[in-house]
Symmetry: C2
Subunit: 345 residues, 2 copies
């Protein structure tokens, strides 16, 4: 946050602030008919299905501004919503952005936030079409709604997984969680001794995964290009284990995934060792990966194997078999949804 | 808020809570293809334009739970969003609801909130299609996004007002503001002496206007029935003066409104006198009326005059004439947008 060169928000007022932050925002998608400046945005999707997802992020629960630059926070706030639209096999098209800010924040802080937001939108061809900026008694609250589109026949739900389907996951898992652990450790050190400079050398990937996740547009494009429509899909925000159990329970099936197939980056493994944490547990329950988890028919084995950055980690079973992880030594461990739960916090 | 019979939210967890609150929610609109339970809701508007509006309401800024029952808050949170959709000459069809709650709240509190929300949705044929429930360090945050539809040619923006247009307003103004003042006074009294029971006899209308506003679906229906499409429209949330200046500035016109034509309820007038406040100022700047402000061509004078609960309060002028109120004694006072500004608070 800006400590020097602060311009107090009160100098602009609500309308002035919205105008200031949204100036220069233009609409690029033909589906965006009218953006910021009226009672509602006007969109048009004559031949598509309209996807709507929303997220509410609260300071102190979902992010810690001690180690989260506001530009990164803006970027991430948009990305996590795009990720939900991709998880339906759709394309994000518009977002609305609502912020509630306390007096602690200055205009420069919000400019940083919007810079991150705009960068994310630019990379994913998404228009900012509306929002709300207001005050808060304490802390920052961010609410983003993302609107996307999909061909009706291509929408992929969580409930379509079928027996013998292959379970696939993009990228690698657990890195964002390790990035968070690292940040928390450095924060504790920093609060103890102010002179110590954090050393993140060799751990950049973990920090990036945590601070600046990328929604997997590329995976959706690859799948479309190969003509593969998953039977079930969701994005991994609360951890692989929790999400897989959602798919299985909504699809009335069971699953087996294999410990040795879970994709994990080298830095994640090094860090887990340093923290003396179980690596598989981190990858299963870590959360905030924003990778895609999906199932495809067994007949697609060859095609899916050829796609970049997608790994087959197991298969769907009859419901009676439950959901389990097959460990390296061949044991079966029942999966548990111990995913990140902000309501227990 | 519930003080006895509290069930702690932690007993259910995030997914359990969402399931509990949303059970029994069914989709009634053909445009709602899939609601709660996946990464995004799926909607379909093949022949319509899609309207999107969003609001973020923060405890301590937008509402005070000392005098706002949670059921009313749920009802109002939905209504203010419906109002924005009507203000585009559209029909609200779906909402998503995100809540961030601190430990102070129990499950029964959130049930009350949802009861109000559901009642509002039922009355306006709106489906609850998604949302997010999470925790907050302090207080309650409510973010609602409303999706509506309109025929492309019928969407009414703020920027279409034309010289000689008649300026119309529905209902009456200033009552919600008086309701707020009354609540604030009773709160102060109550905090001083716990034995004093507030006496709201004869002031029920003011309280209802503040606690339980009604979005003016009926006005939109009347206009449609009469074949009248306003040139410009918005809803009055920040006060007549502020909203009229938005219409004029976006339409590049001026206006004259007449003090003696501003619709004011008898209870509002009595209360203003009791508080020793200027009644016209309250009606111009009060806010939270959620009435519709719109302009229609002069040729519609006769038709509009016959409609129920709509009053012509002035007319649009050339931009050079600015925006002014013509007082009862014939003076012209320049309008000021001193509407409610939570960022100055």
């Amino acid at each position: 946050m800006h400590e020097k060169n602060r311009t107090e928000i009160a100098t602009l007022g609500e309308f002035g602030l919205i105008k200031h932050l949204t100036q220069g925002i233009t609409l690029t998608n033909p589906e965006s008919k009218y953006g910021i400046g009226d009672d509602a945005a006007v969109l048009e999707f004559p031949k598509k299905q309209v996807l709507v997802t929303t997220d509410l992020l609260m300071e102190g629960i979902h992010f810690d501004l001690i180690y989260t630059p506001l530009k990164h926070l803006g970027y991430k706030s948009a990305m996590v919503n795009f990720s939900d639209i991709y998880a339906m096999n759709g394309k994000p098209k518009q977002i609305t952005v609502s912020l509630a800010v306390s007096k602690r924040f200055c205009i420069e802080d919000l400019e940083d936030f919007y810079d991150g937001l705009k960068l994310a939108c630019q990379r994913h061809q998404v228009d900012i079409v509306g929002g709300d900026t207001t005050s808060s008694v304490t802390g920052l609250a961010i609410s983003i709604t993302c609107i996307g589109e999909a061909d009706g026949k291509n929408v992929v739900y969580r409930n379509g997984a079928k027996e013998t389907d292959l379970i696939c996951v993009s990228g690698d898992l657990g890195a964002a969680y390790m990035g968070l652990q690292l940040m928390e450790r450095e924060k504790a050190v920093f609060q103890g001794e102010k002179e110590v400079q954090p050393d993140f050398a060799g751990k950049e990937y973990l920090l990036e995964r945590f601070l600046k996740p990328e929604a997997r547009k590329d995976i959706i494009e690859q799948l479309a290009h190969s003509g593969i429509i998953p039977n079930a899909m969701m994005d991994i925000s609360d951890g692989l284990s929790s999400e897989l159990m959602h798919i299985c329970s909504q699809s009335h099936v069971g699953c087996r995934i294999y410990e040795d197939r879970i994709p994990i980056d080298y830095q994640t493994a090094v860090m887990a060792e340093e923290f003396n944490m179980n690596l598989t547990t981190c990858a299963l329950n870590g959360g905030e990966d924003y990778e895609l988890l999906f199932t495809v028919p067994l007949t697609k084995h060859e095609e899916i194997s050829q796609l970049k950055d997608i790994k087959i980690i197991g298969h769907i079973t009859k419901p009676e078999l439950g959901c389990a992880l097959v460990t390296r030594d061949g044991n079966e461990l029942t999966l548990k949804a111990q995913g990140w739960n902000p309501l227990k916090g």
